[in-house]
């Protein structure tokens, strides 16, 4: 197989154990965490958002490829639109919050993140969960009448700590092969 396709499975289904029932305390806590996270990002509370990230964070958004259905399981590449860790996310936040010339988000986009279809699984570690959620995002900027939109499935590894949940891994599976927005100066 050519190097253009990844054998990596970003969904990490192999790490999922028993599914946590919808409506249970853990499921509610995870859903609440994701909603709070979306609110912080939508309101550009980026420094506060960063406290929700684990220091061993892996944050990726692999490029997607249109494949025949026979190769349905090889539609994500080794390259990504994001290929980040905790430090690089901090650098992005520093740029966006402490400089006065981060032009791609100044003036800022108006972004709304709708998070739904939350599924939670236990893992081999008692304090960690695999979480799948759907993200629908609208982004409006300046006087544009239309919205740049994006839909994706996010596969997260959440870790419960004394401080609450932390995102230890996020794989963002975007539904577009050719992105409709000109950059990701925003977080997903």
């Amino acid at each position: 197989m050519s190097v253009t396709t990844a054998s990596v499975t970003y969904t990490r289904e192999d790490q999922r154990r028993a599914e946590v029932p919808y409506g249970s305390p853990v499921h509610n806590a995870v859903t609440g965490f994701l909603i709070r996270e979306a609110r912080l990002l939508d309101h550009r509370h980026l420094t506060e958002w960063a406290t929700m990230l684990a220091e061993d964070l892996e944050y990726k958004a692999p490029v997607r490829i249109t494949r025949r259905v026979q190769q349905w399981d090889q539609e994500f590449g080794t390259m990504g639109h994001f290929d980040d860790d905790y430090n690089s996310i901090q650098t992005r936040i520093t740029r966006l919050t402490t400089t006065t010339n981060a032009w791609s988000e100044d003036p800022a986009s108006r972004v709304r993140r709708f998070v739904t279809n939350v599924s939670v699984w236990e893992t081999d570690l008692p304090d960690e969960y695999e979480v799948s959620s759907y993200l629908f995002l609208t982004r409006n900027r300046a006087e544009a009448k239309d919205y740049k939109q994006l839909s994706a499935e996010r596969n997260d590894r959440l870790r419960m700590t004394a401080d609450g949940f932390k995102v230890a891994r996020r794989s963002i599976m975007i539904d577009q092969v050719v992105l409709g927005m000109p950059n990701f100066a925003i977080f997903l």
Binding site: S2, V3, P182
Partner: protein, 458 residues
């Protein structure tokens, strides 16, 4: 009423819109449908275009689908082991023959009526052979997919529809001497680090095209945030003068360009001052993308003149006319060491007000795997979709394009009037046009002159 041929109208319009004497280009050029249609014919159907890299398709039958202007092509490795580029349009009813971005197929069979083609584009036949459903007017040999002319260079796949035109070597001219230092400098050569990023920017393709020709000046302002957070080096109080190495050597030929940053500047940014000779510095601080292990290969493969350039001021950014952008830059890696990001973009028009921006990341094949992974991460964090450098560019180009929508706005001009003039240093090779000093508009104006030559060619 006499119909005036479009070519005449456009030639007249071009002479109005490009002031060659004063080096100004009308903003209307960014929003003109007639000009755009002519660009597709005269630039994108004539130029050598970058379509990817052969390491994307290592095996017989491997293919990727790419754009040449607004035309889709199949870039495939055929049974002969060679890379072929064929129009992705069935000669029968114009259906796209190939419907996925990439894969492996020994036969590309059109899903509409079943006409089948080999990876080299040749026609195998239509279903129900005895009925000869391709008719008896044209032979099978005449019914293959339309073939582009292909040339590999350092593994990069270039193709053109200009079958009788200049060879790729002639097209690159003197600049090939410099491009060799990026693309063809080791025994193993480059490899891609995965399938490219693709995104849409609501801007005319020329906004990104002309910038790729060594617009160093915008770094100070548009990328000021990256300088402010220290990601481009420089002393704190003088960062905006020194950081992105504003003083260097720009090169230009046939509209192609490269910007060379003095190695002592890069060295000082990375390691502080030092008194190394150029040769010692090349040892201690190889050009971007070259690890210490690869240095002997580089020295063997490059000529003495090329090694001199690499030791004095290696090329790091630039473009290949009309629509490729190069960044082979130093970049910090996540393990704290100073590494590199090797990046190529192609800028493909999708209408007068939109282009597709494709981003490839590379490493030398001989790079350790864990370093390749760090290079890929560094490239992704700095350039392309989410790159903290380039996300500001993708914000700028749409504004320029929108300016051209206003009937008054389009009467403004893009000005290329800050000029260094050719001033080749005595110890620099006598190849291409050489501009030493604070990077100015010279190479970008040369890009427009190359554009003008193609647009007015018969």
């Amino acid at each position: 009423m006499r119909m005036i041929p479009r070519k005449e109208i456009v030639n007249e319009a071009l002479s109005q819109m490009m002031d060659l004497e004063n080096r100004e280009v009308s903003v209307a050029m960014l929003h003109d449908q007639e000009i755009y249609e002519l660009e597709l014919e005269r630039i994108f159907a004539k130029a050598w275009l970058l379509l990817g890299h052969e390491t994307e398709i290592p095996n017989v039958g491997d293919y990727v689908v790419r754009l040449m202007g607004e035309d889709q092509v199949i870039v495939a490795r055929a049974a002969d082991g060679q890379v072929h580029v064929s129009l992705n349009v069935c000669p029968h009813r114009a259906m796209h023959v190939c419907l996925s971005d990439s894969g492996n197929a020994r036969v590309h069979k059109c899903i509409y009526h079943g006409w089948a083609f080999r990876p080299d584009g040749s026609f195998i036949g239509a279903p129900i052979e005895r009925e000869q459903m391709h008719g008896n007017i044209k032979t099978k040999a005449q019914l293959g997919l339309k073939k582009a002319r292909v040339q590999l260079y350092g593994g990069l796949v270039f193709a053109t529809w200009n079958i009788e035109g200049p060879s790729l070597d002639e097209w690159l001219g003197d600049m090939k001497f410099y491009y060799d230092m990026l693309f063809d400098r080791t025994d193993g050569g480059l490899e891609v680090l995965g399938p490219p990023q693709r995104l849409t920017i609501d801007a005319n393709w020329k906004t990104a095209g002309e910038q790729s020709a060594c617009d160093g000046f915008h770094t100070l302002t548009l990328h000021g945030s990256v300088i402010d957070i220290g990601a481009m080096g420089g002393e704190h109080d003088t960062a905006h003068e020194s950081a992105p190495a504003m003083y260097g050597i720009n090169l230009s030929g046939n509209g192609h360009s490269l910007r060379c940053i003095p190695a002592d500047t890069s060295w000082a940014l990375a390691h502080g001052k030092g008194d190394l000779t150029p040769e010692q510095r090349l040892e201690a601080f190889p050009p971007p993308g070259i690890t210490p292990e690869l240095l002997p290969e580089l020295k063997r493969k490059m000529s003495a003149e090329q090694l001199h350039v690499l030791a004095k001021a290696p090329p790091v950014v630039g473009g290949m006319f009309p629509n490729a952008n190069i960044l082979f830059i130093y970049s910090p890696l996540r393990d704290g060491t100073l590494g590199s990001a090797l990046v190529l973009h192609s800028i493909m028009p999708r209408g007068v007000n939109q282009f597709e921006w494709t981003t490839y990341y590379f490493a030398e094949k001989g790079t350790p795997e864990h370093v390749k992974e760090m290079m890929r991460a560094a490239a992704t964090q700095g350039t392309g979709t989410s790159g903290i450098i380039e996300q500001d560019d993708s914000d700028t180009w749409p504004h320029m394009t929108e300016s051209a929508r206003g009937v008054i706005g389009r009467t403004e001009t893009l000005k290329y009037q800050a000029i260094l003039g050719e001033n080749r240093p005595a110890d620099w090779p006598d190849k291409a046009k050489v501009y030493e000093g604070f990077g100015k508009d010279d190479a970008q104006w040369e890009w427009w002159l190359a554009y003008h030559r193609l647009m007015t060619a018969d």
